[in-house]
């Protein structure tokens, strides 16, 4: 969503005011919100600094919110790696970089459940960037084999597998 005022920057300040039961909404970028804060901070001191006003909305200073107003403020959430924010993402349907997945992880979870119906990869694991997951999966399948040997009372084989599992767990740093 873009700023209602300049139509260029993403809207990060979302304001709802209710006057005599009439509700109106405005979505502004940071700089337009700065320019318009006088208009929107009615009922508050004209000289009330905007950041303090906004901090109030985030719950740091509950006295500063007026009962007649319901305002919400969202921080310009940006991925630290690529600078892309969530609004831009939802507009084009793509992430900016691989770290966006980690950075926006709270939103990624529900999003993936919606578009993919799942949120855990069970397929191929690359050799280099796969990290420890390859080893972990191998250990898991060895544990199964171990169980099978035990249930068939082939204890010699079972001991051999158990030693291998221990060795691999050492590699994992367990």
């Amino acid at each position: 969503m873009y700023c209602d005022e300049c139509k260029k920057k993403p809207a990060t300040v979302h304001l709802t005011k209710i006057i005599n039961g009439e509700k109106s909404e405005v979505h502004l970028c940071e700089s337009c919100a700065q320019n318009h804060h006088k208009e929107w901070t009615f009922g508050l001191d004209e000289n009330f600094p905007l950041n303090k006003f906004l901090a109030g909305l985030l719950g740091y200073d509950p006295q500063s919110t007026q009962p007649s107003m319901n305002l919400s403020f969202s921080l310009p959430e940006k991925c630290e790696n690529c600078g892309f924010n969530y609004n831009q993402m939802s507009q084009i349907g793509r992430f900016g970089c691989n770290e966006c997945y980690e950075h926006f992880k709270e939103k990624v979870g529900p999003l993936l459940r919606r578009v993919q119906g799942a949120n855990r990869h069970t397929g191929k694991v690359p050799h280099r960037s796969g990290g420890t997951i390859r080893l972990e999966r191998e250990i898991q399948s060895l544990r199964q084999t171990l169980q099978e040997y035990v249930s068939r009372e082939e204890f010699e084989e079972a001991a051999r597998i158990r030693d291998r599992i221990r060795e691999m767990e050492k590699k994992l740093g367990h």
Partner: protein, 357 residues
């Protein structure tokens, strides 16, 4: 080096061979991969985009120094004319999007065109493998091998929980899109196609017409692919698609059987009329050609026409596309000239088939 890809019409996928080759034209696997160090392509500036192309080109060269993947060729798309790029689109080697904006993009193709790697399309790498017939397992093995080789040289973006990370969250996980292209004329003729194909969406499959994204399939060709890429392994996705494809094959065969049993004369009439028009027309639109070629193909599959090979029919799917006709003429030609050229090529191909002699 690239000329052969642009000049010859025949790619591996058109061979007309492979399992269930009469109904399944081709099987394709596409893997989306990204380098872990740079933003996704749509956020890259031109310097970084070139860097991605160079890194992947370098990876290919060091693989080839180790005697791997000798038949892969790097193509600089900037050196190609727009028309030549359009041909690569017609041959299903690159996407239309990839042909339009070439700066900072690249392409790697195998000599038989069964493997292609698009650089800096939606993701840094899009590894594609395309084989004739219903050969999903074979195609997956091939694609996975190419993936492993490049992964031995490059760090791919991978998350232990989410799998391969992609620009679009609809590809995350396996990054895999498996698809089969199927010729289903009898299902269309018996008015079952839309019902049957619509039911596939409930099974997590996507259905598309052959060229483009539209729902209108030209020449009764449909592409069926998996919708979901996360939470299922590559093998599970492939075996689900295989089950669906086999069911469609059975239904198409049943419909063909029904047509032959109930309306044999009318069917023969339609097939031979199509053959008659294609072997005698002087001007033909792409749409008409596709629909008539579909009938000739059906006639060939059902043993009515014995002089046309499936390979010729597949080749004609590409040969009669606008870009290819333009290439043959070597200059910009009008739509009318193109339709005339198309009719000539089809006539010559059908009448000089080696099977005729």
């Amino acid at each position: 080096m690239y000329e052969s890809f642009v000049n010859k019409a025949l790619s591996k996928w058109m061979e007309g061979t492979g399992d269930e080759g009469d109904i399944v034209i081709s099987s394709r696997i596409r893997l989306a991969r990204n380098l872990s160090t740079l933003p996704f392509p749509h956020l890259l500036n031109s310097t970084d985009a070139k860097k991605v192309v160079t890194m992947i080109h370098d990876a290919l060269q060091s693989l080839q120094a180790q005697e791997e993947e000798k038949d892969l060729v790097f193509i600089n798309l900037l050196e190609l004319q727009p028309m030549e790029r359009a041909i690569l689109v017609d041959k299903h080697l690159i996407s239309p999007q990839h042909a339009d904006e070439v700066a900072g993009r690249g392409l790697i193709v195998s000599l038989d065109e069964s493997v292609s790697i698009l650089i800096n399309e939606e993701d840094h790498l899009r590894i594609q493998c395309l084989y004739p017939g219903l050969e999903l397992e074979k195609v997956w093995n091939q694609a996975s091998k190419v993936d492993d080789l490049f992964e031995s040289q490059l760090d791919f973006a991978f998350d232990e929980k989410l799998g391969y990370l992609t620009a679009c969250p609809t590809n995350v996980g396996t990054g895999m899109r498996a698809s089969v292209m199927m010729h289903l004329p009898a299902l269309v003729m018996t008015n079952q196609a839309s019902r049957v194909l619509a039911s596939l969406t409930q099974l997590g499959m996507t259905v598309r017409g052959l060229f483009g994204e539209g729902t209108e399939a030209t020449g009764n060709l449909f592409q069926i692919s998996n919708q979901v890429t996360l939470g299922r392994s590559e093998e599970e996705i492939i075996s689900n698609l295989l089950v669906v494809a086999k069911q469609l094959i059975d239904q198409e065969r049943m419909a063909r059987h029904l047509l032959l049993k109930e309306t044999k004369k009318q069917l023969e009439d339609q097939v031979w009329r199509a053959y008659g028009i294609l072997t005698h027309a002087r001007v033909i639109s792409s749409q008409e050609a596709m629909s008539l070629l579909s009938k000739v193909r059906l006639g060939t599959d059902m043993g009515m026409i014995k002089t046309v090979s499936p390979q010729t029919l597949n080749e004609m799917l590409v040969l009669t596309r606008p870009a290819f006709l333009q290439k043959v003429k070597g200059k910009d030609i009008s739509a009318f000239e193109r339709d005339a050229q198309r009719a000539t090529i089809i006539r010559e191909k059908l009448l000089t088939e080696p099977l005729n002699q």
